[in-house]
Symmetry: C2
């Protein structure tokens, strides 16, 4: 029996999807929102955590780290994500969090079942149609530091606030913003944020 924790933020969708998975005799299915996922992980101790990369609390950035945090005396579950090829930033984050499985939301639900079984055996599962998304993820133009600057700007921080929290001069922050705008092919700062959020980098 494979114990699966299904993480999705919309309760209505989550219950229907969990019920659908429960028809498979080898799956024991539990479900949680992103908010309640850390607690459910501790109580359910799933073999596989299947998480939708959309998160209603944050546009773009689900708290993947919390799903994979190692705790004493506990084997972390194997992570499978439901993703889209159009948001390479989220694919990259999932890979960095150690996800083994990647199922395209444009796939059939049968593929989710296949992915869960493969990941439960410790094997990687990558949906063919996500290939282009992974390619784009590899071509991410911004450095880690540039992403930090842009994330703060996207939260509404001023140049002075960004400079203060990253211990940089105002001029350096402006240079970073100019480089970010150029590298993302944006028209200005707001456009750079829009483009980066759309692709899932922020």
């Amino acid at each position: 029996m494979i114990r699966v924790l299904l993480v999705h933020d919309a309760c209505l969708v989550r219950s229907v999807l969990a019920e659908w998975l429960r028809r498979e005799p080898d799956l024991g299915v539990f479900d949680a929102s992103w908010h309640s996922a850390p607690g459910s992980l501790r109580s359910v101790r799933p073999d596989v955590c299947a998480a939708d990369l959309d998160c209603s609390d944050a546009y773009g950035i689900p708290p993947l780290g919390e799903l994979c945090a190692r705790e004493a005396g506990r084997t972390p579950p194997r992570l499978l994500v439901l993703a889209g090829a159009n948001r390479p930033g989220l694919l990259k984050r999932a890979a960095e969090a150690g996800a083994l499985g990647y199922v395209d939301k444009e796939s059939s639900p049968e593929k989710l079942v296949r992915g869960i079984r493969r990941v439960a055996q410790g094997e990687r599962f990558i949906d063919d149609s996500l290939g282009f998304g992974f390619l784009k993820a590899a071509e991410m133009p911004l450095t880690r530091r540039e992403l930090s600057v842009l994330s703060l700007a996207a939260e509404g921080a001023s140049v002075a606030e960004i400079a203060g929290s990253l211990h940089l001069s105002h001029g350096t922050v402006r240079n970073y913003m100019a480089a970010i705008t150029r590298k993302t092919g944006a028209r200005n700062r707001i456009d750079a944020i829009r483009i980066s959020q759309g692709e899932g980098w922020l």
Copy 2:
């Protein structure tokens, strides 16, 4: 028999949800993405169109108008939306598009079935838990003109470009942006965009 067109952007979720609805003997269920919905409406001619307000093409603004467009010789379907109380802007847009039904994504799937049956009879159906969202929608602080200015800014347009496309002076656009920032309680322009997108106004 109630003919239902289910509109949701993620194929995997959509197929499972459609299959779940098909267990009801009085529902004839078809499904489509937002992109293919206008074509499906013409071929399926549903009694009820049940649409998820999240749309992968645009953060926040599903093309609701296309679901409700009147065409010669065709009765438009009754519209039911799957929504969240945390994005009042989307609730308001759905109301403006003439939606009869509002089901909370945090509800149980049984409520979706109840909503579809009520809306098919031409009756309004509003999930109790969406009440606070409707209250917030009524308190929307920005005028239509301010929203137009902010939408263009969010797409990356400069003050000059906004002025040009709305036939305003640069100073007037700056005044609008200052008023928007104040009214949304934002720290600056980028923060105003972030807040407004989060609530579904943009």
